[in-house]
């Protein structure tokens, strides 16, 4: 029995190797599309898992609209959203016409929450202008139809409150 490269079995093996070597360029070219398909599958799998997880999150996907004004903050658990509802309720109860209102918060509220309250009220109350500042800030206008204070802002000594809801109180117009 002959052994080595000259044997028929090894000859066939050699031919196969040579054929594969000759077609290596073609093989190389076919690797990339296969790799791309594998990566597409990976991307789809990750995307479906990631999206599914978030869609099932009640704060993002299928949360029914709540009574609180949480519009515009899907996925952002801001603590101040109930206060927007309270301010809107006080505004509705105060009924002082279409004039501008000043909302005063304590100075220690974080900027993001303040910006959130401001953007919510500018939108929901339009065309009525609602300006939101802290006690450390300065009002933009010279006069307002009324003022609403945060529960932690003390306005003792001014006129009696027009309305109150969850600690937010409204007072008649002020002028600088």
């Amino acid at each position: 029995m002959r052994v080595g490269w000259s044997s028929p079995r090894h000859s066939r093996l050699g031919e196969t190797i040579l054929r594969q070597a000759a077609s290596s360029r073609t093989m190389g070219e076919s690797i990339l599309p296969r790799l791309a398909r594998s990566l597409l599958l990976l991307w789809c799998g990750l995307g479906l898992w990631f999206s599914g997880e978030r869609l099932l999150n009640p704060a993002v996907g299928w949360r029914p609209l709540e009574a609180e004004d949480r519009r515009g903050i899907v996925g952002l658990p801001l603590a101040e959203s109930p206060s927007v509802s309270a301010i809107r309720e006080v505004l509705a109860r105060s009924d002082r016409g279409p004039g501008a209102w000043l909302i005063v918060y304590p100075p220690d509220i974080d900027e993001v929450s303040l910006a959130y309250v401001r953007s919510q009220l500018l939108h929901t109350e339009y065309p009525r202008l609602v300006e939101v500042i802290t006690t450390a800030g300065r009002p933009r206008s010279a006069g307002y139809a009324g003022i609403i204070t945060h529960p932690r802002v003390d306005f003792a000594g001014t006129a009696p409150a027009l309305a109150e809801h969850r600690g937010f109180r409204s007072y008649p117009s002020i002028a600088r």
Partner: protein, 457 residues
Amino acid sequence: MTPALVFIAIAGVWLLGACTLALLDARGQGASGIVADWATGVVALAFLGISGIVMGAGVSMLGTYLVIAALGVACALSGSWRRLPDVTELSFPTRDRVAAATLALTVAVVVLILSSATHDRLWWDGWSIWAFKARVLLEEGSLPARFLDPSGPYVTANLDYPLAVPLLDWWVYRHIGEASPAAVSFIGAAWYALLPALAWSGLRPAVGARDAALAALGIAAFWPIAFYAAGGAADVVIAVALLGAALEVTRTVRVGGRAGVIRATAYLALAALSKNEGLALAIIAVPVFAGALLLRPSGERSLVRLGWLAVPPMLSAPWLLYVRSLSIGSPALSDVTGASDAVERASMLFLGLRVLFTSSPWIGASLIVVAGLWGLARSKNLYVLPGAALLALYISALCTVYVRSSADMLWLLTTAAPRVFGATVPALVCVSLLAIHGRTPSEPHSNRSTETDAVPV
């Protein structure tokens, strides 16, 4: 929100775009043709609305319907409707069950996101910028001076931004008769639904049904786009415009035709009228298209078509001049950092983007882009180069703005980067797949769409 009225509003915009493109003899094939109709309709609606606001006449639903009727009559008289596009690409690939099942899953994901959006998924920017402007347009019939006062209380609504998105939202509000946030959320999700359709239709002829269907599914399941789209943010519009423009420039180089340049112009105009970075995209596209058209054998005739690329900046000009006359600046560009800060910010941006692009929902797309770069480097076909150049230049422009802006980099990376860079992902993936398949001997596939002056590249 009344679904029938929302449907009428959407159909009106589509008809506006379809008539415009039909008159220009530039309507496209299949799903990508319908997306191009829609994009053109939004551009036309935006231009009409901006013109009305700038001239003091305000926005008018009746006036817009009169324009649609006039265009429809012009189409009928000119016989443009006789050249209706082939919509066979809309059908499911019944011969390839894997691709059909993948597309069915894509549709299921899109329907889930759309139905979630009907519950009002508005995110911060969608609520406080776009939906707010749409509400002002509904209440006032225009954007009044007290709203556009750069020192007034409404400055947080980014007054300088172009108006395509709020005007589309206003159009829907006007039809349903109320400022419904759920409608804005749904329209945002509808933009997102166009992306997989565009990817499927644009990729299928070149990469085959299975990979095109997988790309459509990957885009549909890419959460950063789905979330912010239902959130009402305008970045999804940029994603549609970027993908549409990249596919059209690639197609134009491959098969030629004036229609592709016109549709690309529509996508670029959509970008320019939607966000400030979209205007940058429209300007970047000029040298890219010039280079792309020079790759065509009929170079000198193609260069005449470059004139179409002047249209997006021209359509943007009235709004840009108007906000300048009101002294409204762009907060992102008003203050620029010095050179020393820029180096530090560039390294922060690089680190931030590295974290972003290697995180869970992004990593698959990032690897596809790496494979696409490999394919591009070894590609014998040059037709993918313009699309790749468009994306590279656009991303470079975004990075430049991030580096030179004086805004806090950490804030930019956490609040804006996922939206802004996420909008580039569908186009990056699709161009990468074209680059990968561009070097396979079997490409192009037999069902490639054709145009009259098709010339192999």
